[in-house]
């Protein structure tokens, strides 16, 4: 038999807001001490999610990147990071071939095997689309009060590229906690291939379609670093990284033209005419050094922050680069800020970078070097980034929006300018 409950309308305590403060006073009397302050947080997981759109002008590459970065404490000694990236890439990318403007020019092949007709202006770039999924996990464990060991693992998968990595990083704080020393090692294994499988024989004729097996590459990075609190408002950092990679470094899609500069008899302008096309070839190892230093300084009453960094890079392919990065954050209110960004990047060309195999005398066969690439990314270049970020605190999270313009100028490459736009919105959710 069902029991009928005498559910009276007991009502809600009328003046709810006074309860806690009155209770605090009562508690204080009971415990005979001074009132304490509670200080607690939820289990401090936060999720940073972001959507980035990158677009190059002239219908070149566009990338939509969805990122999620989850970080949280498993215990007072253990922190876990999970990083997920999904890239959708599409557009047209330069192949390395010359832009053959005029398809009507035809030449006799140097080998005399017949005529070679320039196949129009479309092959200097190729349309592509791909999707990349990247997953990275790391686990930081405090060994004791001053030392932390971080273990990491990563995986990245594309239709024509796979990468697996693992890392370990040791960090040691000084007794006064003002200085942190780090030492780390990372290893990765990459597998590189064309979507149709295999990699082309380096410096073979594209038309021959000579394919080798998939490319494999092992990379090892060692990093040493120190970061130091210089004073209450300034922190500095210095890192040195040495990396060695061994294996397949060539881009299996990139080609290099054997070309001749010819005059268009109608317009009187000179244009490149392609005689032959080869797959590129890069060395099978690379040694790199990076020195990175940065400093953040807060000043003023409202907490304006300037962040400056300098990076020097050099490798045994002949590329050296200098990067200067500056941001300046100005709080607009207690909740929001605005942050202009400027970045200067300059690099020298790789020793084996060539615009093309220039053959002025069409009748003579050219002598191929051991390595050659006309990938614009290996050319001498200058990149300038200007942008601005706005961030604001919302209830339960932080919102950021960023716009950036990037302008690349290359010295010799067939595509000697790239303009790109970056738009990014991010939301960091603090679990409550």
């Amino acid at each position: 038999m069902a029991v009928v409950l005498a559910v009276a309308d007991v009502g809600v305590i009328k003046n709810m807001n006074n309860i806690k403060s009155n209770l605090s006073i009562a508690t204080c009397t009971l415990l005979g001490g001074t009132a304490q302050q509670a200080n607690a947080i939820e289990n401090s997981w936060d999720l940073d999610s972001s959507l980035l759109y990158y677009s190059e002008d002239d219908d070149r590459v566009s990338v939509t990147k969805a990122m999620a970065f989850l970080t949280g404490d498993l215990s007072s000694d253990d922190t876990v990071n999970v990083n997920l990236v999904l890239d959708t890439m599409s557009g047209a990318t330069p192949t390395g071939a010359v832009r053959s403007k005029n398809s009507s020019v035809s030449f006799s092949s140097a080998s005399g095997a017949g005529s070679s007709t320039v196949d129009g202006g479309s092959v200097d770039r190729v349309n592509f689309s791909d999707t990349r999924l990247g997953i990275a996990l790391s686990w930081a464990h405090s060994q004791d009060r001053l030392t932390t060991l971080t273990y990491g693992g990563s995986l990245s998968v594309e239709k024509d590229y796979q990468s697996y990595g693992a890392s370990i990083n040791y960090s040691l704080d000084s007794e006064d906690r003002l200085t942190t020393y780090t030492a780390g090692f990372a290893g990765s294994f990459d597998e590189i291939y064309r979507k149709t499988d295999g990699t082309p024989e380096p410096l073979s004729f594209v038309d021959d379609n000579n394919m080798f097996s998939n490319g494999e590459r092992y990379s090892y990075d060692f990093i040493l670093g120190v970061s130091k609190v210089l004073n209450r408002k300034t922190i500095g950092q210095l890192n040195y990284t040495i990396s060695y990679s061994d294996g397949y470094h060539t881009d299996p899609y990139k080609v290099i033209s054997e070309a001749s500069l010819v005059e268009d008899t109608d317009t009187g302008e000179f244009a490149w005419a392609e005689l032959n096309r080869y797959y590129e070839a890069r060395p099978d190892n690379r040694l790199r050094h990076v020195i990175f230093t940065s400093m953040a300084h807060q000043y003023g009453d409202t907490g304006e922050t300037v962040h400056a960094s300098y990076r020097f890079y050099t490798d045994d392919w002949g590329i050296s680069s200098n990067t200067i990065d500056l941001t300046h954050r100005t709080p607009l209110s207690a909740k929001s800020y605005i942050e202009p960004h400027f970045r200067y990047y300059q690099q020298s060309a790789a020793d084996f970078f060539l615009h093309s195999f220039v053959n002025e005398d069409v009748s003579t066969p050219i002598i191929l070097p051991e390595f050659a690439s006309s990938d614009y990314r290996l050319d001498e270049g200058l990149g300038i980034t200007t942008g601005i970020e706005y961030g604001t605190k919302l209830s339960g999270g932080n919102f950021r929006a960023r716009i950036e313009f990037i302008n690349w100028q290359y010295e010799e490459a067939e595509y000697d300018e790239t303009k790109a736009l970056v738009l990014q919105v991010s939301y960091q959710k603090l679990f409550d």
């Binding site: 305590i13 709810m16 806690k20 209770l23 304490q36 509670a38 200080n39 607690a40 289990n43 007072s76």
Partner: protein, 296 residues
């Protein structure tokens, strides 16, 4: 002898014992063996002292004396007087819903997971024996009408936690945490402002599943809930939170409410008050400007 054990962990130490019918723990941010032994012993002594003094299950303490006074006045010591003053304020603040004389209801409401719902007749019989306003409390003299009982079970454990914190603070500068059966307090954060982590039990899977982890930097934490204490009849769940005004369980009370506040006893009162609000528990907690977790 006693059931005290101590352990040295990686970067903290842990002391354990049973008191007040629950497992008790002391966590200290130190790996000093001597210190954890000393602090655990002090905590044990304080927990036992309060248990002895305020338990309704013994026949030689002040509570027994009052409950068996048959209406005669009883003079109480300072500490007991402070408890009654506090209970009096809680009664006022909760508009009569928190009442230390409501303990007699346990005679008819046995929250053992069964379907033994008392008859209305039984409930009505007991109602006259409930009500703090019928008590004559004129510090330091307590005059409790015959047939009525005082039960400090709703305050005692939380009070013991805060009282233990007070004692341990005099013996160490290290950060520590006192946990008496889920009623918790810590007086200051760990070094480098790091928190202590506290797992929250899922009320429907006690001890098996945690609904979350809370980082407690400093303050008190208490949970009110009916993990295993409930009645089930015709599919209706009766929570063990009894409303002294109706002598019936509070309808639609949350399964559990956890609150972080300045002290353990404050957190305990706020979580109990919230449970007493039934379906309005969340609104009540929202208005208090405290951290809380409510499992509906």
């Amino acid at each position: 002898m006693t059931n005290i054990t101590t352990e040295i962990k990686n970067n903290y130490s842990l002391g354990r014992f049973d008191a007040m019918a629950c497992p008790c723990e002391i966590l200290v941010e130190s790996v000093d063996k001597k210190l954890i032994k000393e602090l655990t012993k002090l905590a044990y002594q304080e927990a036992k002292r309060i248990e002895q003094k305020f338990s309704r299950y013994t026949n030689d303490n002040i509570i027994f004396k009052i409950n068996n006074s048959r209406g005669a006045p009883v003079t109480v010591d300072d500490e007991t007087a402070l408890m009654f003053d506090f209970a009096n304020q809680c009664y006022d603040l909760s508009e009569g819903k928190f009442d230390i004389t409501s303990g007699v209801l346990r005679k008819i409401w046995k929250f053992d997971g069964s379907d033994n719902i008392p008859a209305d007749k039984e409930v009505n019989l007991l109602k006259p024996n409930i009500g703090w306003h019928k008590v004559k409390w004129d510090r330091p003299i307590m005059n409790l009408p015959a047939e009525m009982e005082i039960d400090l079970g709703g305050i005692g454990k939380e009070y013991a936690v805060d009282s233990t914190v007070k004692i341990l603070k005099e013996h160490t500068d290290k950060s520590f945490l006192v946990n008496f059966g889920g009623d918790i307090a810590c007086p200051k954060p760990k070094e480098d402002n790091k928190p202590w982590y506290i797992g929250l039990d899922d009320p429907s899977h006690t001890g098996e599943k945690s609904v979350g982890q809370i980082a407690l930097y400093q303050g008190g934490l208490a949970t009110s809930g009916d993990a295993r204490r409930f009645l089930l009849k015709d599919g209706k769940r009766y929570s063990h939170i009894l409303d002294p005004l109706t002598a019936y369980p509070v309808p639609d009370a949350p399964r559990s409410v956890t609150v972080i506040s300045n002290t353990c006893i404050e957190a305990g009162m706020l979580s109990t008050f919230a449970m007493l609000q039934g379906k309005d528990a969340k609104d009540f907690l929202e208005a208090q400007d405290v951290k809380y977790w409510c499992v509906p």
